[in-house]
Amino acid sequence: MNFAEFTNILLQKTIPSTALPLYMDFVDGMNVTAQRTIQVHALYQYAWGYLKKSPSWRTANLNTAAAALVAAEEIVAEREQHYRVSVERIASYRENPTVYPFTYLWTAHSLYYFWRDYSKATNVSISTLTPCFVRTSTPRRLWRAIDCRRN
């Protein structure tokens, strides 16, 4: 689903050009959130239907989830064109002054949460069963955070 009607209703032409970038920020945010909702809902249906629904029904839901992920990729790529600094600076996986091993928009850039949930719903393995599946923090990093605070 997209919010085409939303953008039509609001008539972008009536918005002052100075405010248009902010408005498009809203639109992209709404769109990617909608895709996220579709994905979560479809994955939920897929998992819930294991014993209750046919394989084709579950596959259709899985395809919906995958399509939402692809759509989200496009939205993120479009929004990244409007960042005021380079994507590498704020959306890359690299050491930085925080305790996180990535910069703050990396999870959006990589669609980390989309992929994590998709993987957890579609794979059964020891790694996906643990709550630490593709975690973003490790004991070493936590200790480093504690250590930094102590100092």
Partner: protein
Amino acid sequence: MDGQFNFCSGWEWGYWFNDVITARAAWNPETASTTRYAALANAFSEVTRIFGPAAANVRSVRLDCGCERPSFNSAYACVHLCVWLGRLRRCWSRQFKHRSNSSCSVKCLVLLLLRRSSAAMAWRTLKVLAALMESTVTLYNARSHTYANAVIRMGHMERTVVDSGAWNMHSASEARHQRSAFEAWYRSQLRARGRAALEPHGVDLCVLVFWCEPLLVLLLSECTTLTDGGRL
């Protein structure tokens, strides 16, 4: 006042809006407004003036858009309830000291609802919670809890409804029994406290948009008020 620190986390785009609203609310919490909705709408109208002729539309869409899409309401509600429960879990240890007792945890949730929300809001959320409980238990039986984990996670929430062990039930019938017991317990609380006592007291305006979440900004503002009392 020595100073103020506004903190927000867990979202990527559109946070300028949240920052502006919370910064302005520090100076003008809209105490003259009679409802939270009106307070939020007023706060929005100041900021959305930049959109010129479309300001009213932007404001109304950001406030109401989610309500106009019934087919998506349940999905949104489920996702946000999970986010909300995740946030709530952080409060349980502080306020109630019942980290592992599932029934206590649920009751704590309702207690917070009673303390912090209007009766209508509490009841709506209770319904969603009850439905989620039932579906989660079904899901739990259908497959390992990992799947439930996968689908109801959102954003930075590392703990989920199922993760928390809150729904330690083993059959759909037991879930229904729990649900009816839960509702009965809620109704008794309602009777004991009186409906008037459940109305919101004052205006706690705290907007925390989760990953640029304009559709449910109103609900989130309610939720953050419920869980953190606007004091992060």
